[in-house]
């Protein structure tokens, strides 16, 4: 959910209850910081004396846990906002725990409670903003936000729905792709899949190399239809499923299967899975393949055979061809050679 909502007109104060319906209707028509309004929280307006920001999160600078606290509130965008004034970051010794250090007495109780939520539910961030104190000295959390650590799903008894990151619910393909890895820990395939507005289907390899290649595709003017990656030597079936999901998108102009020189992912197996998927979809558009690693020579022999038999428009490149240069080849094949 977007921060900076107050500034973008996402927080409205009404004087009388009769205005509520109209104001809510107006909110639902709005897009706040590129996110469509789907839900509205109605709460009592609190008159307060003091306003604070309070959060727990992890910091790469201290390589550990930090408390972020100070005077602020809605003017502070989020913990990660460097411009935030009067906000300090305090390292916490995770082996010792947090006992209310560095916050005023009146806020210790709530800070410790937030800490308990943060650790118990394996959060990456637990934030109360604004945290206010009224005239009677009562403490109110007017808004709050948590980011959960997905890697701790296995020990969290409460299951939460997927977050809507793109300001929209997850697409059918996103949901289907994420199912591929469920209950099968052999490699990672489709756990990360995002639909994008372009027309070049992408099946990329490696958590690092995939981003390098996406950078290159964008730089050459290619428009990706999706982002997805696979890594850790996934089996053939997983690649077949992923290929079918990626290529189910209408209006594609090309498909790019790209990766670096793998350490241990079996290139023959993963490309066989890709071919299994292609055989069902039977695409006519150009398919650019660049890959290296264990059994790559065998894989390329197989691809040449398949291309002949099934008349796929394959353009095959091995480790001798710079990985990112195939982004340009893909773009030119998909859109025509517009540069010349």
């Amino acid at each position: 959910m977007s921060g900076y909502r107050a500034g973008a007109g996402g927080i409205i104060k009404i004087a009388e209850i009769k205005d509520l319906r109209l104001k809510i209707k107006e909110l639902f028509k709005k897009t706040i910081n590129n996110e469509k309004v789907e839900r509205v929280l109605v709460e009592e307006a609190i008159e307060y004396e003091k306003e604070y920001y309070l959060s727990f999160s992890y910091s790469t600078e201290t390589r550990g846990l930090v408390l972020t606290f100070g005077k602020g509130g809605s003017r502070v965008g989020s913990h990660f906002d460097e411009a935030a004034k009067n906000i300090d970051v305090y390292p916490i010794d995770i082996l010792e725990g947090f006992n209310g250090e560095n916050v005023p007495d009146e806020l210790k109780e709530i800070a410790i409670k937030l800490w308990e939520v943060f650790t118990k539910y394996d959060c990456e961030l637990a934030e109360i903003n604004p945290l206010v104190v009224d005239k009677q000295g009562k403490v109110w959390a007017l808004d709050a936000k948590v980011i959960l650590d997905d890697d701790a799903d296995f020990r969290r008894d409460v299951k939460f729905p997927q977050r809507n990151l793109f300001g929209r619910p997850p697409t059918k393909r996103e949901i289907e792709a994420r199912k591929i890895d469920e209950g099968d820990h052999r490699g990672t395939t489709g756990s990360v899949y995002w639909d994008l507005p372009g027309d070049i289907a992408v099946i990329a390899a490696g958590g690092g190399g995939s981003i390098v290649n996406m950078d290159a595709l964008l730089a050459y003017g290619g428009k990706p239809a999706n982002y997805t990656e696979h890594s850790g030597n996934p089996p053939r079936e997983k690649l077949k499923k992923l290929t079918k999901i990626v290529l189910s998108k209408p209006g594609l102009k090309g498909c790019w299967f790209v990766g670096g020189t793998a350490n241990f992912t079996d290139i023959y197996e993963t490309l066989m899975g890709f071919v299994d998927g292609l055989r069902e979809i039977k695409p006519k558009y150009p398919i650019v393949i660049r890959r290296g690693g264990p059994r790559d020579k065998e894989a390329f022999e197989m691809l040449k055979e398949v291309a002949k038999k099934e008349s796929f428009d394959f353009h095959i490149y091995g480790r001798e061809t710079p990985m990112t240069s195939t982004a340009k080849i893909m773009k030119e094949l998909a859109y025509g050679n517009t540069d010349n």
Binding site: E61, G209, A219, N263, T324
Partner: protein, 334 residues
């Protein structure tokens, strides 16, 4: 001489009877690495590729006191227990392959490793260790245990989690790096490589090898938010290593490890040539907070952005490669 993995490296495999552990064991032995023992609770007495298996690290150490490196290849839910056991047994170098370890567990492991003093080869802690040799010792609540008082080489070091491994070509390797046969991709030479990505460690080493540039040591530090060893931590070792003449960094948006490397160079602590390749412009086109394969490649606000990393590295005199294939030429030009 290389760093971290030398001819003195003697390895313990945690999770040796698992698929990844057993596979890496064979690969490491085939590459000439000394693998002395393995641990899987409840499976003591077995052998995996000729390596004896024990129930606990203490037992393995009794029989093989020379062990100085542990490779962790256990499932994510068991990782914290395994790492804690290695730290308590003061194994100087712990390389973690395991992916998807909860960040809370990684944070605990890093805190514990940083405050755990190992004995130097003379059998004594260094003088700076006095008074903080107890792993649980810490300064008063609200402050970090002052691990900065302990020299890096005197405390337990973690490389990873989600690390592809460490290879010193021609000498040995720990982890899955290079797969079954690293020889085609990795070659011995004078360029150090530190990479947030395992695949890019391989791709960059291949590009170097293809252009006649061998490597001293190649390290996959992992792409998570918290890592045991960042760029700067390892640059300290590369600076001292006479075999290493230049360094290649593969970084990504998110976090502050690249900025830390830039500060390390600016402070005069690293004097060798550095070429860096930073990726992630694509990720910056997505909504903030979008999760990609590397948990660390995530942006909130301006912090950890592509621009911030390139700016600080350039200010430190680091040469930025626009594509991985430019790296060899940039290393050659002085």
């Amino acid at each position: 001489m290389a760093i971290l993995i030398t001819d003195k490296t003697k390895v313990l495999i945690q999770g040796i009877t698992g698929k990844e552990g057993s596979k890496a064991t064979l690969q490491m032995k085939n590459y000439g690495t000394k693998v002395l023992a393995g641990v899987t609770p409840g499976k003591g007495g077995q052998e995996v590729h000729g390596v004896p298996v024990y129930n606990a690290i203490a037992e393995a150490l009794e029989n093989h006191p020379g062990i100085n490196t542990s490779f962790v290849a256990v499932p994510n839910f068991a990782a914290y227990g395994a790492i804690e056991e290695a730290i308590k047994n003061k194994i100087p170098l712990i390389n973690i392959l395991t992916e998807h370890i909860p960040i809370q567990d990684t944070a605990k492991a890093i805190a514990m490793a940083r405050s755990t003093v190992i004995l130097n080869p003379k059998g004594e802690g260094s003088p700076t260790n006095v008074g903080i040799s107890n792993p649980s010792a810490s300064l008063r609540a609200g402050k970090l245990r002052d691990s900065s008082l302990i020299a890096q080489n005197d405390r337990v070091r973690i490389v990873g989690p989600s690390s592809i491994g460490i290879i010193s070509p021609g000498i040995g390797k720990v982890g899955s790096i290079g797969g079954d046969d690293p020889r085609g991709v990795y070659s011995k030479g004078s360029v150090g490589v530190i990479s947030k990505s395992g695949g890019m460690a391989s791709e960059i080493s291949w590009i170097l090898t293809k252009n006649g540039l061998g490597q001293s040591t190649v390290i996959g530090i992992g792409g998570g938010i918290l890592v045991g060893s960042g760029f700067a931590d390892l640059m300290e070792d590369f600076e001292k290593d006479p075999q290493t003449k230049a360094l290649v960094l593969f970084g990504e948006i998110g976090g502050t490890y690249e900025e830390e490397a830039a500060d390390f160079i600016k402070s005069g602590k690293f004097t060798k040539k550095v070429v860096a390749f930073i990726s992630g412009l694509f990720a910056e086109t997505l909504p903030q907070g979008t999760k990609l394969g590397h948990a660390g490649a995530i942006i909130y606000g301006e912090k950890g952005s592509y621009k911030s990393k390139i700016k600080s590295l350039e200010e430190a005199g680091v040469i930025i490669a626009k594509t991985p294939d430019e790296i060899p030429d940039l290393l050659k030009v002085i």
